[in-house]
Subunit: 209 residues, 2 copies
Amino acid sequence: MDTSAAYSTETERRILQAATDIFLLKGRDGARMQEIADKAGINKAMLHYYFRSKDKLYEQVFIVQLEQFFTGLLDAIPETDDVHAFLEHFIDSYMDSMAANEGLVRFIIWEIQSGAHLMPAFIQTMFSKRGYRKPLFLVKIEQAIDKGQMRNVEPVNFVISLIGLCAYPFIARPVLEKVLGGLSISSAEFLAQRKTEILQLIWNGIRPE
Amino acid sequence: MDTSAAYSTETERRILQAATDIFLLKGRDGARMQEIADKAGINKAMLHYYFRSKDKLYEQVFIVQLEQFFTGLLDAIPETDDVHAFLEHFIDSYMDSMAANEGLVRFIIWEIQSGAHLMPAFIQTMFSKRGYRKPLFLVKIEQAIDKGQMRNVEPVNFVISLIGLCAYPFIARPVLEKVLGGLSISSAEFLAQRKTEILQLIWNGIRPE
DNA sequence: TTTTGGTTTAACCGTATGGTTAAAGTATTT
DNA sequence: AAATACTTTAACCATACGGTTAAACCAAAA
C-alpha cells in the first residue's frame, strides 16, 4: 500500500512507508522502532526527529490507512435506486477491497480490539475533510422501505448485517483457511461464490411480504 | 471466568486464573509476567517453575479458554429437526454466550489476527477429547435442504453467514458503541432486537422458492 | 568564505522485561 | 531425627527497547 501522498521530504515518506508495512504486519506492540528504521534504511533517531514517538508514528499510519480505506468504501456506495443493483455493487466492491488489503483488515481489527481509541479522532478528521452528510446508506434503506421495495427491517441492524456478512470471512480468515483446509478466502472462486450467496440471502431475506 | 478445573496445586490454579485475567485483558504482548505474578499473589519465579515460559503459559490459557467456549457452543446446538426452532435456539445461545464473555471474544480475535497458530493444536485436543464426529451443523443443513425445508444454499457459506451475523456486532463492538453513541451491544434491548432481525433475515433468506 | 539552520549519524541512557539461580523453607519419607 | 525431594523467595542477569544527545554533515544564506 502506497502512503507517500502528501509527505514533504523523501525521508519522511520512507519512514511512513516502512512504518506502515511493519505496523500492518506486526501490530502496535509487535512492531519495533529499530525494525522500521532498518526497513526505511535510515537512522532510528530520524523516526523521533520526524514523528516524536512510537505512538505518534502509529497514529499517523493509522489515520492515513483508515482514511484511504473509508474513502474507497464511501466512493463505492453506488448512486442507483434499484435495490438489487445497489446491494450487488456494494457487496462486490466492499469484498474486493478487503480481499486486496489483507494487512489492513488485520490492522483495523487489532485496533478495534484494543478499544478503538483512535476512532473518534479519525471520524472527526473524516468529517472535517469531507463535510458531514447524513449516512447515505441509511437514507437509501429508509427510502426503499417507504417505496415498498424491501421489508420493514431496522435500518441500523440491516447495515450491521450486510457489513458482517461481507467482512466476517476476512476477519476469520486464518481460522477458516485452517479449518477448511486449502481454501483461500481471497481466491476468485471463493469470492465469487460468497458474493452470490450473500446477495441471495439478503435479497430473499428483505423481500417485502 | 473460572479456570480452576483440573489443576493440581493451589499455586498452579492461582497462576492460571491470574494469567487468564491478564491475558484476556491485555493480550499476549501487552501482558507482563510480573503483573500476572502480582495478581496471583505469588513470586514471579513460580510462573516459570510451573509453566516454563510466557509462551507456554499463554498456550495453556488459550487452550483452556477456547475449550470452554467451544464446548458451550457445541452443547448449544439443539437436537430439534424444526429448522426455525433450530436457528432460533442457536442464535439465542450463541449470542448470549458472546455477550457474557467480552474478554474472551477479544482474546480469540487477537489470536486469530495473529495467525491462529495455536488453532491446529487446539482442534486436535478437542477431537481427541470429544472424538471426531462429522460437523452436526452441516449435516442438519443438508438434511433440511433434502427435505425441501430450505433453499439450496451452499452449506459452508451458510454457516459462515450465520456465525458472521451473530459474531460481527461483538467483534466490532468498540467501534459500534462509539459510532452509535451510547448504545450497548450487550444490553438486553439491543440483543433481543438483533436476534430477531437475524432470525427474520435468515429465515426469509433461506425460504424455499 | 564564513555562518547559519536544518538533517543525519553513532554512541549512549534508563528502564522494563523474560528468565535464572542459589539459598531458604517445608513437607514427606526413612 | 536425619535425609530427601519438592516448593518458594529475593536477588540477580542479559538483553531489548524507546528515546536522547552531542557531534558531524551539508546546503543555502550572508
